[in-house]
Amino acid sequence: MGVTDTRAPAIASLERLRASLADAGLDLPLDGATEHRENAAAAVRQIDDYIRPRLADLDAPLLAVVGGSTGSGKSTIVNAVVGTPLSRVGVIRPTTRQPILVHAPADAGWFASDRILPGLARVRGALSSPGTPASAAGDSPAASRIHELMLLAHDAVPASLAIIDAPDIDSVAADNRALATQLLAAADLWVFVTTANRYADAVPWKLLDGAAARSITVAVILNRVPADAVDDVLPDLRAMLAARDLADAPVFVIEEQPLDDLGMLPPAAVAAPRDWLTAIAGDRAERTRIAARTLGGAIEDLDRRVGEIAEARQAQLDWISGVDAMAAADYQDAVDAVDEATRDGALLRGEVLARWQDFVGTTDFFRKIESWVSRTRDSVAAWIQGKPSPVVDVETQIETGLHAVIVDEGGRAAAATWAGLQRSAAGRTVAERHPELARQSEQFSDAAGAAIRDWQGALLQLVRDNAGNKRIKARVLSAGLNVITVALMIVVFASTGGLTGGELLIAGGSAVLGQKLLETVFGEDAVRRLAGEARRDLQQRVQTLFDTERARVTTALETLRFGSSPESLRRESATLLDDVRAAAGS
């Protein structure tokens, strides 16, 4: 049972591939994802159940699985081959639930351990007392016992070949179907049972197609054939087998015949299949050949499956990247929209400019006087009544306006990403797991307010930093630090983008005053530089704000990225194939 050195690398590669398959990361319900998930789980199971033990030891006893449709008489045939009622038979479908493995007493050691089919618990069964009818043999079909493998030792079974009576492949019981598929995947050879009624059913042929693709040795038993129908049905069945690359498969016909008192077929009816099995069991070279062929087929089939799974995994990763890119575009739109709203005077139109005008007046001489009069009056009134001065009012107007624009764009971007998620089933599961993505985050409004205030603070600092020499400092102080800062905001919001070009276009007449004021204080070039710096600072802060919002989507998607990469799946499978071939060649 020792692993020879030539196989060690193959087994190590297999373990790596198994680990990757177990963590394939196919959680998103994309098209066909359910099948791919099942495919990955089946591949892992087949590695545990069959490939690993067979790779470790080609000389271990062969496992023949008797499989087929519900009602085709699998259990009756197993009972007849062994010559005693082991497995319960009956008219109520589905019959066999608990799988039964019957082996020669000498082989007991091979099957008692978890070497093969480690997912099934082992129960050592006892033979029914002689004279028990087949309809009462074995255990009653309790659904709960489907994950137990009953082991029975019997002298009639040839050494080095065990037989499993599998559940049906096509009944309404989903557990039966799953277990049957698992057992067939763990078999070295198949004894496939069908009937005259059933031989054209689609479900078994799908499995037989799979068997042909994996080069499994198959024998077909055509059961319950009315005596007069053999000449019609048999050639038809052989033609169907030939059409599916299974022309070599031996076909054994059992005619419809009455069972004896114990519900057993006469031994003569199953003589041919029994002889076939005994012949294989007795020929060591043939056994090894069959085992090697099935193993090779299984590993090649595994490689094909891994290819499909890798593709499915790639599709998942691509989908995640697509959604991430969509969210990125939505939030970039939001950043652009805020940028759009903060240029060309879009934010200043109407009220803000009107108040600014109230504050600085216009070039008109009389208005200047009037404005001076009203300013004086307002300052006095403000001083008496404790109202904010008009320049603070302008600042507040800008602040709340900018805040509304940012919050609106945050809501719009969140809604757009949410709508994008709703368009696909996979997106809907992400949305279900993260209902908070439907709108902007709760702290977004506060964060936007803080960002704006920080920007205003930075503007104040910028003005202070640029009031370097005494002359400028004096001018700033005479106009008022607040006034200069607000004038700078007005210039920033009134100018078109692309300040680097040097052209500072001004939207609204009274905004010119702001610029004039700044130019008198700082000089023309400095104003351009200051405005450019202030705008870049704002853009930076808005970008950071929306990046934080968008990160919610990226984080929500991040957990879905967990799992093996498609490249490692493909590479590990290719390595396994190479290692197995090298082991076979040596």
Partner: protein, 531 residues
Amino acid sequence: MSLDDRLAALRTLRSAGGDTVPAALGTTMDALLERAGRRRELSPGSTVVGMFGATGSGKSSLVNALVGDDVARTHVRRPTTSEALAVTWEPEGAADLLDWLEVRDRVVRVDPLDPRARQLVLLDLPDFDSVEAGNRAVAERLAAQVDALVWVVDPQKYADEVLHAQFITPHARHAEVTLIVLNQSDLLTPADVPRVVASLTEIVVRDGIPKATVLAVSARTGAGIDALRRALGDLAAARGARDARLSADIAALADRLESPGDVRPPDTRARTRLVDEIAVAAGADVVARAVAGSYRKRSAQATGWPLVSWIARLRADPLTRLGLGRKRTGKAGQDPDLHRTSLPPANAAARARVSIAVRDYADTAAAGLTETWRSTLRSSAETSIATLPDALDLAIARTQLPDRGSWWWVLFGIVQWVSILTGLVGAGWLLGAALLPRIGLPPFEIPVVEGWAVPTLLIIAAVLAGILLGLLGGALGAVTAAARRRRTRKRLVSSIDAVVESSVVAPIGAGIERARAFAAALQAARQATRG
């Protein structure tokens, strides 16, 4: 509930569902409406019964046994039947029906299998589980078209997944027009027959047909065939199979549709909040303040002391500065619509506030609805948001603002000028008294009252009157301006309310109404077909 009601419910589901119904289901709904319409036009008295089953279950043998003649081909080679075969007893009227069913093989027999079943159309159909995919396609198509479904099973295959999961379960709603027949019962021992029937019944109940009855028959021995004939006769005699089938189709389809969730009545408080917020964002207060300011300015111009009131004239009219005010109606025939186009686009902040308010309103309205319906309301809100700021500006531009002057301005004006004249008279008098003697004219006497010269009194009175009038005018102006401001705001809010109603509340209300209609129709369509 009649089939007509149910079809009406289906049509409502289709029209009210709109985009919320997945495209594939929408196509199924259209197909069902079309199918129901066609079937109802064709031979209303006929009852089409289809025999469905796995390959080898003996559908053809059973048809032969029922008819009492070898009409259908039977063979041991599988699958045997790949074309549908129809047996009729009254060929008149059935021909169009069979054309619609696309059944070309037709056999006419004289003696009905049951006296009440003269108008029965019995179909022998291909299997649905063999390697021949074409057979399954025919069976699936006709399973959707026939009036009654007979599932034929046999002891070997009665528990197959294909039969139960893919055929009986999807037709669980059709229990009323479903028969389940266990054929080949002769292959079982007499004692096993009831056990198998019980086991099959249990599986069918699990498929979703709680009152399933299973008929055990044998085409070979003839056992149970009479009972099956009677059951078919019952179906044909009731003449309800066609409608029951279509009703069950609608109910089954409705089961696959997602309910729109909890539809709540419109929230009036949310609506008030929406209008308030939009009124603020659209600048109702700013305009109202401007109207008041404009009034105060013009009032000061008209009623102030003429010697200083000219200064007020220099101040810009707040209304004109907003692009509103009297000037817009100054030229004859100037349409506010055209006028509007010369206004700059709305302030970005105002747009943002409007958009936040509308989105909030849509989310409040959609509370309780499923995500699918919520997103239709959201997209309707986005459409509103795109057009709303311009509509609001237009509404404000069109609102008749109380910007006319007051009648008492003229009065005050006259009195002001009279007092100016009085003052001038006093001044002239004094001037005359002082200058006349210098040019040699005799001075006229200046009367004195209580020690005060009358011209001086005139000047003092004029100045005092001017200032007092100015103060009074100012006070009156302030009071009226405040009233104007309130009136303006009220008018603007009512204009804005109308815009909000037509471009936000109504579309979203219509969406909610669609959800309500959908929910009601869904409930109607899902009602059990019987009882």
